[in-house]
């Protein structure tokens, strides 16, 4: 039975096969005019997500989502569990391909056509929900590895740190308050310090857009405040997208808040507007 269904799936007539579609194999129908390395933000937004849908085994994690992030903006995204926040980040960073819709970085770069490492290299940095650093390397080495540089095989083999790069690492160490731990193996850092190290690694990449997934989970009050300071300081030079559950934290940093629910945007506005929106109240407080 299952095989029969598979055959039917292949033989469907209402669908154009991937290899004919322009998107996957641009050389078939002429190259797209994507200028590599230049992120065009002249129209304002740095990230354009339009009509994006993602489903896993029939479950729609993202449903016709349209979202724009302006250049230099600090945007908070909130939403109940399963609203599609992490999936959205997966799509932006190339981990998951959308079923439908477009994701553009600047006006020219189609992120759905790029790999994780290419997306990272054009300037999108991501902090995971579960803090992930390189545990066997020192804090210093973690930052060195993340540093914006030629990351292909041969240059990496012969790479040596220049004084300038060393200064850059010191500067970031300062920013994330880890200067005195720089010789420590990252596995030995506390949870909060690991979060910061990961943020520091993002900064080393010179990203234009930072995607930060739950930066203050498991942090003490004091650490949370310092993180808020750090993130608001980054906005302006960078565009920052923060996904967070901690409402106090969101209130303390947010200028614009987007509420996601069941894979699409439910509301968008300042924290006060959003909190007084009856639909948002319903979603958060239950029926």
């Amino acid at each position: 039975m299952k095989q029969w269904e598979q055959i039917r799936e292949v033989m469907r007539r209402d669908r154009v096969f991937d290899f004919v579609a322009e998107k996957r194999y641009p050389f078939i129908q002429g190259l797209r005019s994507v200028k590599p390395g230049i992120v065009d933000v002249t129209k304002g937004p740095i990230l354009y997500i339009e009509n994006m849908s993602v489903s896993f085994d029939g479950f729609k994690a993202i449903n016709d989502l349209t979202l724009y992030i302006n250049s230099g903006e600090l945007r908070c995204i909130i939403g109940p569990n399963g609203a599609g926040k992490t999936t959205m980040m997966d799509v932006i960073t190339g981990k998951t391909k959308p079923d439908k819709g477009t994701v553009f970085f600047g006006q020219t770069m189609d992120l759905t056509q790029m790999n994780e490492y290419q997306i990272a290299q054009v300037g999108i940095g991501r902090k995971f929900q579960k803090p992930t650093v390189f545990p066997d390397h020192t804090v210093f080495e973690n930052l060195e590895l993340a540093m914006h540089a030629d990351k292909t095989v041969w240059p990496t083999l012969v790479a040596r740190l220049s004084g300038e790069q060393r200064d850059k690492i010191d500067e970031v160490l300062e920013t994330v308050h880890l200067t005195s731990q720089q010789r420590l193996r990252a596995a030995l850092l506390s949870h909060g310090q690991t979060q910061w190290l990961e943020i520091g690694m993002l900064l080393m990449q010179n990203p234009l857009l930072l995607l930060v997934d739950e930066p203050v989970a498991g942090m003490t009050q004091q650490e949370t405040e310092r993180t808020a300071e750090l993130l608001t300081g980054l906005a302006g030079d960078h565009s920052v997208v923060v996904v967070e559950h901690d409402m106090d934290f969101v209130r303390s940093i947010a200028r614009t808040v987007t509420v996601l629910h069941e894979g699409s945007v439910l509301a968008e506005g300042t924290m006060d507007e959003v909190q007084n929106d009856p639909r948002v109240i319903e979603v958060y407080l239950g029926e």
Partner: protein, 387 residues
């Protein structure tokens, strides 16, 4: 008690040697040992008269040379397993391919001295009534060409295999099984007479290498020295790789592959190149092995060999390079002893060894020694961590 503070190996070192060995005591010891062997062994074999207690028999020299080529193979595996986390259960295949390339050269050197006296065809081909040399045997009468193939054939196979596997993001146990299948398939292929590699007898009855008779003690010593020097050079090159930024990226991939990818590294390329380099080293190890033992047959492709190799590295200690070499030496010494004294016990001993090491010495002998030393250096801390 873990040692908390790593050596500052991200400092800008004044010289490259300092970068390679400043925090590598084991490596310095290992290289000194090799140097000592390179001096003592030839003297004890060639200069010390046979009756003396210090005389080393040629058999022992050959045995040591064999261990050294195994040590080289173990270092190659450690590079991919210990540093990059790719558990290859088929590294024996690259070793055997290198060995076959060397064997083909040695076969062509036999010339008219074979049993059938055919100037061009090796004995087994005459025996199979072949009249022409297969195309892939051309060029193997030239030493440089054979040496090129020793590196190129395993390297190309690893490139092809790795390119397909890593690009499809095959990792962990699935990759291990695939490498195992690879070596098994090659074994079956090389068993076939039609392949033109001597079938299940393999290649043997070698006469000389570069004009020197393989039966001569001095040639044996020459091969032993070649093994020692190659091993030492390999160690230095591998050490350069693991202390470079490339080496740190590779360890980063082992520990947090996704993070490495999102930081902007093309993980597949890094895995591929370290895998290829490791395969080339394995091929060289095979080429050193064959003239010393005097035979190469499809048994070298057997999955069991590759698994034994993993045991050597596990016993010695992963991720240290010299630990792998140490493990190769120790386990093979034990094997030589056991298979002579109690032949039926060896496989059980090997299995037991692997279990013991996995449970009690997860970091191998090197890790165990380091732990003891750290405990001695910080007695107070160890009391705390024990209670």
């Amino acid at each position: 008690m873990q040692h908390n503070v790593k050596q500052p190996n991200n400092q800008q070192y004044n010289s490259i040697m300092a970068r390679l060995f400043s925090s590598d005591r084991g490596g310095k010891l290992f290289l000194s040992l090799l140097a000592a062997l390179a001096i003592v062994v030839p003297i004890c074999n060639l200069l010390v008269p046979e009756g003396s207690a210090f005389h080393l028999s040629t058999y022992t020299v050959t045995l040591l040379g064999k261990y050294l080529s195994f040590a080289l193979l173990a270092i190659a595996l450690d590079l991919v397993w210990g540093y990059c986390g790719i558990l290859s259960l088929g590294h024996g295949a690259f070793f055997a391919l290198g060995g076959y390339a060397m064997g083909m050269y040695l076969m062509r050197q036999v010339g008219e001295r074979g049993v059938y006296g055919n100037p061009l065809l090796p004995d087994f081909m005459v025996f199979l009534n072949w009249t022409e040399l297969p195309w892939y045997w051309y060029g193997f009468d030239m030493f440089w060409f054979a040496m090129l193939m020793v590196m190129l054939v395993p390297g190309l196979l690893a490139f092809l295999f790795g390119w397909l596997a890593f690009r499809s993001r095959v990792t962990g146990v699935y990759l291990s099984i695939m490498t195992q299948a690879l070596t098994y398939a090659l074994m079956l292929a090389f068993f076939r007479n039609e392949m033109g590699f001597g079938g299940n007898n393999g290649l043997t009855d070698f006469k000389d290498i570069l004009g020197f008779s393989l039966q001569d003690d001095r040639t044996r010593i020459g091969l032993f020295l070649a093994s020692t020097i190659t091993l030492a050079l390999t160690y230095v090159v591998c050490r350069y790789i693991v202390t470079s930024k490339f080496g740190r990226v590779v360890v980063a991939i082992r520990d947090a592959e996704d993070r490495a990818r999102f930081v902007g590294y093309k993980v597949e390329s890094f895995k591929l190149w370290i895998f290829v380099f490791s395969a080339v080293l394995s091929g060289i190890a095979g080429a050193l092995y064959v003239p010393q033992v005097g035979i190469i047959n499809p048994g070298e492709f057997s999955p069991l060999n590759s698994i034994e190799l993993v045991v050597w590295v596990a016993v010695g200690g992963r991720g240290t390079l010299y630990g792998a070499a140490l493990g190769a030496g120790l386990v093979n010494y034990a094997k030589t002893y056991f298979t002579a004294a109690f032949p039926e016990v060896w496989l059980f001993a090997l299995g037991a060894l692997f279990i013991v090491v996995t449970i009690f010495l997860p970091k191998g002998i090197v890790g165990w020694v380091t732990k003891i030393r750290n405990r001695r250096n910080t007695p107070a801390a160890s009391v705390e961590s024990d209670t």
